[in-house]
Amino acid sequence: MTVVTTGSMPVVPPFDQTGPRLAPVPRQAPPSDPVSVHGPGIPDPGPVTVHGLPAVPDTGPQIIEPGARLPVPVTRPQLPAPETGPLEVAPLTYLGGAGRRADSPAFRPSNRRRSGGMRRRSDPAVVSVDNNRCHLYAICQQEAPASFLVARDGRLYYDAAPPEHQMASVRQAARLCPMQAIKLGGDSTR
């Protein structure tokens, strides 16, 4: 339940190697070994790696890119064999997201990540999320996928100064947040 942002913090965990560098590495996150993201269900898309995220215990795919098509869970982590029969782990292996081609990588850094272009340090922060309130229901990610992201590391990454054309969806995210944790600058109170 950690929310990561500062005035110049990234929207998303940054990617290297396969795309342009979009944002600086979060200072809090210790550098860790690259996590290879592919599974036996699809052909190996090549070494797609994530830097800057703490190593997660499971080796399942990382959900990273909400703006694009929903990342399809390629494999579910194999849980230990249940004592009570086969049911307890019955992964819907190919569930999730329609229309994904089997050979595309689990996620891909995208230039459309931040459609307003790179955010500059000088942009003032408009959005803030109350760290103590946020319970990671991810409603904000559904409403404004370009500005909010609940990453696999259990943190909410968000754009503190979204471009103007994203503000309508950011406002909707703030309205619908179950914990009312999102505060916008110029918050009016009737």
């Binding site: 819907l92 990610q141 559904q142 009737r190």
Partner: protein
Amino acid sequence: MSRNRQSPDIARALARAGRARMEHRPRPRTVVIAGAGIAGLRAAERLRERGFDGAITFIGEEPHKPYNRTPLSKQLLARTGRLADLKLPVYRDLDATWRLGTRALGLDVERNRLLLARGEEVEYDGLVIATGVEARHLPGTPLWSDHVWSLRDMADGRGLGRRLADGARHIAVVGTGFIGCEIASSLRGRGLDVTLIGRGNALMSAAVGSQVGGLMTRLHRRNRVGMMLGANPVRWATADSRTDRPKAGVGVSIWLDDGSRVDADVAVVAIGALPAVRWLQGSGLDISDGVLTGPTTHAIHVDGGSPALVPSVVAAGDVARWPNLLFDRTPRRVEHWITASEHGQAAADALLVGPDAALAFTPIPRFWSEQFGVRLQGVGRPGLADTCRLAEGSPKELEFVAVYTRQGVVVGAVSANAGVRLLEYTDLIGWPLDSPRFASPPALGPARLAAV
């Protein structure tokens, strides 16, 4: 006035929509919003966002401007939140007239007038019905008593809080829906003894099915919530009654239909809600279980036999019963906070563009609840499902996603402590689960779940 008792045929009503009172439709200049809740608030905000510059008048029964009801059973009752948590953000200057503490008493659809007390009439060009719901009660419940409470609005929350601070130790909660379970969890968090009394055999089984409900029942048991399941209250006795008094030192006694009795200091009744539509009787609108509307949220007028859409009246929020075409054509009510917000916005849009141009309101219902630290979250209508399958995770650890299907088609999904994992199942709603693409696991059976 003869009302058509048969349920009106929506399809026929839609076919007539073009002919129904559409001859002359000027842009609305005055919009009246009946009900100052979240749906009404979001409707007003959306009207202003769309550039509506006419007058907006709220007719609200409570003396408060719209506030967030959801913390009443959670943070406020658990005393982890503050009263300021009830504030709702608004991102537009509403420039509205607030008639608070005012109850709408009637509606004249023909003359476009809302009737208030003392014969006052408020004329409108557009009306948003968003009066919400009222707490439901069983007959014979001594609601007047200081030992029996419901939890619907801020006044209830304050009164119950004061009563609990008065030294109540043991609380009986009647009702095992979301609200009842949240109340139980919040009160256990304060170290109070709680007994849950419910009709069903599992908690929240109407909303999330008996399997996930069974898991939540185990969670409550583990947290030492007393349970009297499969029982209905039949008789009450309260310490401040003149006729029916319990034993000395007991605030309220509840006799159940299985012969047992529950003694407590305070009882909280949370057995669901009924739409607040009594004021619409005789208006000609269909108000059996909420205001019936078409898919575009326009109200349906049934007086005189042939149902027709009313272009100047829309209904939104918990009070509205409408067909969500995402699932089927059966009109239903949805009592979720997120949906109420979206409903208000859609109703405002529909009011501005009229029934011909308005889009059908087809949201994916979303809801959440937190009990004993378990974040339960759902999408769609799990209550419609005939089968519940475990999609991933482990029920034993209460970290899982379950997918609900009706005749093989996904209608909903529920997750516990797996928030973001639920998102990808949201897109499956409306799709068959056993199309060849998907590997279909065996259904969660009762025997299997007992083993879990």
